[in-house]
């Protein structure tokens, strides 16, 4: 399965970096790759599921909102293990426009609360060039 792994920059051995078109069809393979990666990192089952779901929600947010106006965007998914700090970090970056969640999202808009509930820390950084969601989990790394 080729989910779009690219050697775009100095990806450390054991880390992941995918750059793919921001389309819903691409996200399933990325999610499966992340689950495998989290397993290789030795994350507990509950943390693996949290990492996979939160990362998926961040990517889904990019697909659904960031590129509403121009559909040709890409997203970057990076997963990094930090042995010194004993944590793993997943970042999802898009290059579209950050849409703040509506005050009354109705039946939608559960992605961000879900990300917050599933992460130790989650930071959303909107800039004029795009949005990065940075999420960390503690990990007893080998």
């Amino acid at each position: 399965m080729n989910a779009g792994q690219q050697q775009l920059d100095d990806v450390q051995d054991g880390d992941l970096h995918f750059r793919v078109p921001a389309s819903a069809a691409r996200l399933t393979a990325l999610r499966h790759a992340l689950t495998e990666w989290a397993q290789e990192c030795g994350l507990a089952a509950e943390d693996r599921e949290a990492l996979t779901l939160a990362s998926y929600e961040a990517m889904a947010n990019s697909v659904e909102h960031a590129y509403a106006d121009h559909v040709e965007g890409v997203l970057d998914l990076r997963a990094v293990r930090d042995d010194a700090r004993g944590q793993v970090t997943v970042t999802v970056t898009d290059y579209g426009t950050w849409k703040p969640p509506p005050i009354n999202p109705g039946s939608r808009g559960r992605g961000l609360p879900l990300i917050r509930g599933l992460t130790k820390t989650a930071v959303i950084t909107p800039t004029e060039h795009g949005t990065t969601v940075t999420m960390t989990w503690p990990a007893a790394l080998d």
Partner: protein
């Protein structure tokens, strides 16, 4: 019993098994057994299945998520949407475990929709 909307792509097999029950205590009940991963790719199949179930105007619709291994918020939004529009039809979920019950709890869905750990329990309660 019938199968609708089987989808096999990256998600492996995704399907919704539809079962009509005629129960003395609960009346006409449609049980939707969802199998696989609920995400942006498969959510339209889930939505279509629930929509079809409600269109029959049964007394109750049960969405059984016991065999769902991944539940994204797009799926939870569909469940919330149908719960709000359920009208006289009772709407129940079957879910337990980290893949489904935990996200339903974190998003507050568990506070608004009745969730049972097993299908038998969902069918047993009047």
């Amino acid at each position: 019993m019938s199968f609708v909307g089987a989808d096999s792509s990256e998600n492996g097999v995704f399907s919704v098994k539809v079962e009509d029950l005629h129960l003395d205590a609960l009346g006409e009940t449609v049980v939707l057994a969802v199998i696989g991963e609920v995400d942006l790719a498969t959510a339209p199949v889930l939505e279509e299945s629930i929509s079809t179930a409600f269109a029959r105007e049964p007394d109750m619709v049960i969405v059984d998520l016991s065999e769902v291994s991944f539940l994204a918020s797009v799926g939870m939004s569909i469940l919330i949407g149908y719960n709000e529009r359920a009208g006289d039809t009772r709407f129940r979920l079957v879910a337990s475990g980290a893949a489904t019950y935990r996200p339903l709890q974190l998003t507050g869905v568990a506070d608004t929709i009745s969730i049972f750990p097993t299908r038998d329990q969902a069918l047993a309660e009047g």
